[in-house]
Amino acid sequence: MQYKSQAVAKPYFVAAIALFVAQILFGLIMGLQYVWGDFLFPYIPFNVARMVHTNALIVWLLMGFMGATYYLIPEEAETELVSPKLALAMFWIFLVAAGLTVVGYLTVPYARLAAMTGNDLLPTMGREFLEQPTITKLGIVVVALAFLFNVTLTVLKGRKTAINTVLLIGLWGLAVLFLFSFVNPHNVVRDKFYWWWVVHLWVEGVWELVLGSILAFVLIKVTGVDREVIEKWLYVIITLTLVTGILGTGHHYYWIGTPEYWQLIGSIFSALEPIPFFAMTLFAFNMVNKRRREHPNKAATLWVLGTGVMAFLGAGVWGFLHTLSPVNYYTHGTQITAAHGHMAFYGAYVMVNLALISYAMPILRGRAANSNKSQVAEMWGFWLMTVSIVFITLFLTAAGILQVWLQRVSDNPLPFMVAQEQVSLFYWMREWTGVIFLIGLLVYIWSFFIPGEEKAA
């Protein structure tokens, strides 16, 4: 660790992984409810489990991003963080707010939670992924502002590199777009239209800037390739990302009451969206091949390469699979979407977070890399989780194809629930694969506790 203030990243990483575990546990509950309908009913209805599953994911990814930022900004800017105390204070506020929100989800009926938290004053709740009480959303804004204030000032007083500039643009974009979560028109078409400004422009826009810069940072560290080369790639990749991703928003505007020309624009630009992901894969492999040093942390390199491949598969290929409007007409709102969502989130955002954690955590604990034994365990975690997500995606895709066929294409379309029963075999297989994913996650966590410091800091 070159700068003392980088240490604030550590609690963020720990909390992120803890929330990751919560996310997976609730995922397993939901998966079981798919095939065992009254499991935990009415104590934890499906919608509650889903809120916890998705919100925990978002919060832990954001926690990971923040931790990553606190870790890499001082090193890139070559100066200590402006205020490590503020960073720690915000950590606790964010964690407590997230915790209270989850407790709220689990203990109080959602309508009561809405009433208790003053949703009437500014109704923002009850929209997918933005279920958080309005006061939680306001809290997120406060935390985000304090965070951005802290890191932006740090960069301003220090060295400005492509990596920290792109990271800051991504983070500011993330915060600004989140403000659209407070936009909730009565008109359903407009509601959905601007809802995507948060959801799509996050994951297929500004988050990719964060992803790109974290990836670039780790690549510089583990490969020793010239910063100049890596920064050029970074700019090219994020240009392609935004050039395709901004108008790619159109693929959400096919069937929600928006004009039909979006079918043309959305299809064309989202058909190009795999290109930046493909470039990212090439980038990661190219840089690792050109490496100028053998970094002792093999696990971090594996995560970086994994991010390249899995982001391309999940976000690129599985996204493309159902993005053209004539295809999407049949697949919209089916398990195909769920399949894409699982692999894309894991491949892009989960893996990049784990890549940085894998690189930074040993250093935060005072060594360049973990012992071989620990790294082997971590790689086991990598493979178990990654292979599981591939199979989860395949099973959900199979379920989705069958669902589309039974419910939408065949001559005698079946009602939704009847079609669901027909595909339950795939849901069972998905659930068992989910258990293996959890095992992989536990192995991954266990790797942190394997002692041994073969390599000095």
């Binding site: 090219v236 240009t239 039909e260 020309y261 043309l264 064309i268 058909a271």
Partner: protein
């Protein structure tokens, strides 16, 4: 310059910065998709497309083609001039290219004006969705190309480029030629052939 290159091994990279070429290829891919979508949608609505195409002003399209070709020629001459160290001439050629862009937009202004005042819009019918999306998207590229050329022209005027260093000018020039190239396909496709 010409003599220098003759008989030499081909250059490894196209003129201008490689980064612009990545962008150019992405743009070409987008236009390819748009053209293919047009061609195959036309297939399913032959009568509509053939009939609606007659409502377009192909003379305006032709004049615009002439303007873009001339702009492209101007930029090519500008690059040739700077390579011969004729910096002033180079700046003037760039200005001429920018002027052709202005002319293009003026013609487009009248063309769209006539259409919009006739009540035509993006969702009038499938043909007009394509016509407006394609030409509007292309026209925006003309605007972007003009902005780039303005920067290049300004730098040329101040003596920023020379026979030794004209990397930036070639970067802008390549983008401008791409805009022209795309129109070379767009004009016959949308305005003429049926």
């Amino acid at each position: 310059m010409n003599a220098q290159h003759r008989g030499h091994a081909p250059r490894p990279y196209p003129p201008g910065d490689l980064a612009i070429w990545v962008f150019i290829l992405a743009e070409l891919a987008a236009f390819f998709a748009l053209f293919a979508a047009y061609a195959f949608t036309r297939l399913r609505h032959l009568e509509l497309f053939n009939e609606m195409q007659k409502t377009l002003d192909s003379t305006a399209g032709m004049i615009n083609t002439l303007l873009l070709i001339s702009g492209s020629w101007g930029v090519a001459r500008a690059v040739a001039a700077v390579k011969a160290n004729h910096v002033r001439a180079s700046a003037n050629w760039l200005l001429m290219a920018i002027g052709s862009g202005v002319g293009f937009l003026i013609v487009k202004y009248f063309e769209y004006g006539a259409k919009f005042s006739a009540g035509v819009g993006l969702d009038t019918n499938l043909f007009y969705t394509f016509y407006i999306s394609l030409t509007m998207f292309h026209a925006l590229h003309v605007v972007l190309g003009m902005v780039i050329l303005l920067f290049v022209w300004n730098k040329t005027r101040r003596g920023g480029y020379s026979a030794h260093d004209h990397h930036g000018m070639e970067t802008g020039a390549s983008y401008w030629h791409m805009v022209d190239l795309v129109w070379i396909v767009l004009f016959p496709l949308v305005y003429v052939m049926r």
